[in-house]
């Protein structure tokens, strides 16, 4: 039996794209539902959730684009830097909306008060960690984007530069994941 490269036929591609589309739509329902939650702060929560999930989805996609860059393979830099720009803007939106929702988190009888009364370690350790590492992806993504635009397309000729940008993308994603998971835990524990 031969073991060559498996290439997806047309039907395979339709199935994969449909699966990605359905998964993304269902995933987006998670923050979209916030808009209908019975809270005076549902708008803030919905916008933060939406920008955070979109930043995570694009960030995850970018990790797949970063691997060939790290390995020194030829990549479409023009497309990559456009995606990086989108990721930068989404992470900025996540950080700004995070500041916005953080106000209510700290507000009178808000989630912070509730958590400190019942499980103080969740605030004192997890939230205090999350609020800072969540700020990391935006400058990391902006830095990677700026470098790709600064060097331009000739950058492909220098493998060490490409490798560093690829690693920056991977590192940014890991902070995105950390911030996102802790944010989800907090929102599950006590909604604003």
């Amino acid at each position: 039996m031969s073991t060559g490269h498996y290439t997806h036929d047309n039907f395979g591609k339709i199935v994969i794209r449909a699966q990605v589309g359905i998964a993304l739509a269902l995933l987006l329902c998670l923050p979209l539902a916030n808009f209908w939650f019975p809270s005076a702060y549902s708008l803030k929560a919905g916008i933060h959730g939406l920008s955070a999930i979109l930043a995570l989805v694009v960030g995850t996609y970018l990790t797949h684009r970063a691997l060939p860059l790290i390995k020194g393979m030829h990549v479409n830099l023009e497309s990559l830097r456009r995606w990086l720009l989108v990721a930068t803007l989404l992470n900025l939106a996540g950080a700004i909306s995070g500041n916005w929702i953080y106000m209510r988190y700290r507000g009178q009888d808000g989630p912070r008060d509730w958590i400190l009364e019942r499980v103080p370690a969740i605030h004192n350790v997890l939230m205090e960690f999350k609020e800072f590492v969540s700020l990391f992806p935006f400058p990391l993504m902006l830095s990677a984007t700026a470098l790709l635009y600064y060097y331009g397309l000739p950058m492909q000729t220098r493998r060490d530069l490409c490798r560093f940008v690829g690693i920056t993308i991977l590192v940014s994603w890991s902070f995105l994941m950390l911030g996102f998971v802790v944010g989800l835990v907090l929102a599950k524990l006590r909604f604003v």
Partner: protein, 136 residues
Amino acid sequence: MQQQSESNIQALRSGPVVAASLALLLAFLTLMVSHHISRLSPGLDKLVHSYGYWIPGSQGKGPDGSIGSYTGKETLAIGVWLLSWLAFHLMWRKQDLDLAIWTRIFVISLIVITLGFFHPLSDPLVLLIAGFFGLP
């Protein structure tokens, strides 16, 4: 074509990469140091907070709350980030620095700074350093 690609290789310098990434480390370090300073006393918290008064929502009470001294920490970090990025870039843009070593330093420093935000690990060290400087 060959000549053009060779001149491109010569034109590219790794200095801007080191400048951009070292500025990031300094920004994250500023975030960490200002955070730990603000936790030492209400007076120091107010001092750190004062740098962030320009951000809407930085002050206030009641159910709507406020962002608090987090705004001061963000402001200090953004300031250090952008100013140091500009300074390092101007200094190193024409230099070719070894990225193999720098990549390791960058990733390890990021991990160390990240652990600095994990209070069970960082608090004993912060209190030791604060005690050395006679801070509350």
